[in-house]
Amino acid sequence: MVENISRPVVRVQGLSKRVMSPEGELVLLRDLNLEINNGEAVAIVGASGSGKSTLLGILAGLDVPTEGKVWLDNDELFALDEDGRAALRQSMVGFIFQSFQLLPNLTALENVMLPLELAGAAQVEPQAREMLARVGLAERLHHYPKQLSGGEQQRVAIARAFVVRPKILFADEPTGNLDSTTGERIIELLFEMNREQGATIVLVTHDDALARRCSRSLRIDAGQLVAQPLTEAL
């Protein structure tokens, strides 16, 4: 089921982030305004240190801005406290990280079960098993992260992100730690899962191939959006 494609699911207004450094104030993001519509796949690109990951962290409510507002769906993110933002993430956000961020002491299955368990969901294990089968790891359920290859670990991370059926999926350099062949497979899987669930994807990447798969790219330079060129539609 795909909802009305024109409704913005992420809205950013006047967003700035400044931090104090020994050399004085450092501007990470400067007065950003943007909208991302439901079902879109948006790549945030830019050089290292341009502020891409800072923007992603703020959009996901992991970090707080110095100024400006962010709405996820219709909820104003920073009107909520930390636990309120965590609850919002629980209900609508999925994550994929460059360094996978799997819990080393949990098996693949348990890593996927974790967000459902935290949400107090029922029928946790069957859902997690099904999702792991979906990413091709039905045979690796009881392996610990250190027993899996990088590509397999990222598949577990994808399963963990999609098992909660998120409205928005944030991904930080999802292929950054993988070789190009594995990276391509992961990209394929990511978009395939996205098609099935109809989620909105916001990802940070250096990978041109990945950026090209997105409906549009947002380029950031020195904390500012420099252009929003539309790439070919998905």
């Binding site: 990951s53 992603l56 962290g57 996901a60 409510g61 992991l62 970090d63 930390e82 636990d83 965590a86 609850a87 993430r89 629980q90 209900s91 956000v93 994550f95 990280f97 961020q101 799997l102 819990l103 080393p104 002491n105 949990l106 098996t107 348990e110 974790l114 967000p115 368990e117 935290l118 949400a119 107090g120 610990y144 992260p145 250190k146 990088g150 963990r160 909660v164 930080d172």
Partner: protein, 834 residues
Amino acid sequence: MSRQLAATVRMSWRMLRRDWRAGELRVLSLALVIAVASVTSVGFFTDRVRLALENQANTLLGGDLVIISDSVLPAQLSSDATALGLQYSTSVEFPSMVMSGDRSQLSSVKAVEHPYPLHGELRIASERFAPDRGVASVPVPGTVWVDVQLLDQLAVNVGDRLMLGEAEFSIVAILTHEPARASGQLFSIAPRVLLNLEDLERTALITPASRVRHRMLFAGDVTAVAAFRALVEPDLQAGERIEGIEEARPEVRSALDRARRFLGLAAMVSVLLAGVAVATSSQRFIRRHLDSCAVMRCVGGSQQQILSIFMLQMLWLGLLAGAVGCLIGFAAQYVLVEIVGSLADFALPTPSMLPVLFGLLTGLVTQFGFALPPLLHLKNVPSLRVLRRELGALPTRSLSTYGLGFVVLAALIVWQAGDLKLGFYVLAGIVGALVLLAGVAFLLLKGLAAFRHHLFAEWRFGVTHLIRRPLSSVAQVIAFGLGIMVLLLFSVIRDDLLQAWGNSLPADAPNRFLINIQPDQVAPLTAFFEAEGITAPDLFPMIRARLLEINGESVLPNNYENARAQRLMERQFNLSWAEDMQTDNRLTSGQWWSASDEEPQFSVEEGLAKTLGIAIGETLTFTIEGQRVSAKVTSLRSVEWDSFRANFFVIASPGLLEPFPASYMTGFYLPAAEYQILDKMVRQFPNITVIDIAAVMAQVRRIIERVTLAVEYVFLFTLIAGLLVMYSAIYATLDERIRESVILRTLGAGRRRLLNAVIAEFITLGALAGMVAALAASLLGYLLATHLFQLEYHFNGWVWGLGIIGGGVGIGLAGVLGTRKVVNYPPMQALRES
């Protein structure tokens, strides 16, 4: 809300199982299990030893409890005792003249009923000074057992007859030992005549005007005895008093007191070590879960939820490890009892269940004390850590991290010690040692820095590694130093302390006392000793006096609430005078007099001064033979009552008491085989009374021996805990070492080279730690010996050799074994994990 709670509880349990399976909890749970096991086994064991020692001491009292009265004791007492399942035995004691032919002698008559005594035994001999034997009976009606002095004084022998009041008795045995008499009546002068209670009426000696002591002994289960005491004590009438083991002989009490301190110390150090091991391993656990925490926050866990999950996880772990530890502790103390039982005649009563409670509580309290601050920190781990790993790192070992743990540990130590002073000393010692260890370790590291260029390549590498991270190195030296210090304290210094204790009761400690020596007999008696080839002992003058006034205010027994004070005031004091202080006394305040002092002065034993509220500078007035004698108190002394040497509560400066008639007393050691000398002495000096305390001494010596043995075994657990501390200290740095080693190996360092560097680093660490540990152990041993156990302490050079060489080799070996994973870890796997 409750659904949410139930979900959190389920989640915490699942996380515990997952962490366990993943091997995350092994060191922490091992630390907890060993902590609880050592504390409970020590608890169970000391509990049983304590009960056994009290039973031992009770044999000196003759029962668990005795009620003493001037008049016939109410029948209610025996029915109360029966109702509580206690055994009891009545006796009546009074002074009376005994006659045989034309001779008569004042004696202390005691009429007893079977069974008597309830604990310990009567010992009798069939002829003068012959070897004696224990008996489980009392004299049959018509017969008496008497002290050997009475035979001499009446010029009779076993088999002869004597008259007591209107009744005639046959002397069938010589009484050599009587437990209840040993208790508090060492100096009862008149010789004993023991008869059956049934014969008492026949003597017609008990009249309303007689000075009679009625005694009732009680014995039975500890709780029943306590219940009985609580029941009857409030209803005691004037002239009635109750005595338990606490009020028994000072020398036994003093031995027991030391015993408890030794065992308490052993148990306490286990608590401390356990705490350190738990602290190190729970820090590691939390450190490793920072990422998990951030991920959980990221996927929607609330702060409260995540904190609850980890808290509950710690709780389950504490309870489970506690339960396992209690079981192991319970089993271990049975093994201990078996070992001790096979080496000594040591019947231990069943332990109470209190150690289980203490063990569980110790586990939980230690765990939460040390884990709570870092656990609470988990709440502050920002979810952004998933993107920026440097955020929300655990603060380095700071006061706030360990502060709560140390406060909790301090409270536990004081509780376990059951003695504020002991707890305080050990705590002060630990804090002092920590500061000292840190300071000295820092200086030593500085010294090493200057020296390192003279070292071989790999040694230089290992030592440089230590120098580059001074804080972490100092922390490790402290951890190892603490472990080694405890090991030294409990091996070398413990032996020194125990030996010093054993020496406080030397093999030639006096076992016979002579009293009633007349002034004109002092010279002939000294000559008699010399003629028999025995070094003549010091003879002390003794004058009976009653304390009238303190600082001009008259004092009466009723002025005091304390039972001991009342009893002291009811009795006459034995005063003595001397130019010099006895060598085994120690001045605790004031000054001993000098020959030039003209003012008369008193020196008072500090315990007595405390009981009666006497301070330096106050004037004491005694009455002697109807005359008042006053002098100022100018010094207080401590006296080793368990040394068995003659000692006096109050000693006067020369000149004050000489005008009054005095008798003399002395104590000396007589080997058992030479008992005939006594026979000869009594014939030459018939008025002198000989008191044989060999049996009481043997009792105290046995207590010392058994406690020494018990401490040896209790020490095993402390040893295990000490080793665990070092293991956990090594383990705590494992993650960091693996990361470093991987980087070095990636850069081309060979495994052998890395291994040598690790060996060099650990040997250096161990030697440094050993050095500071030896210093700390020597100081702590000195403090414990002189301030707590009142023993003479000699510094032991072995501590240094053992500390430095043992520390270097031991830590070097343990370090390499513990971190061999570092050099064998596949670099790719480490890189992937990080």
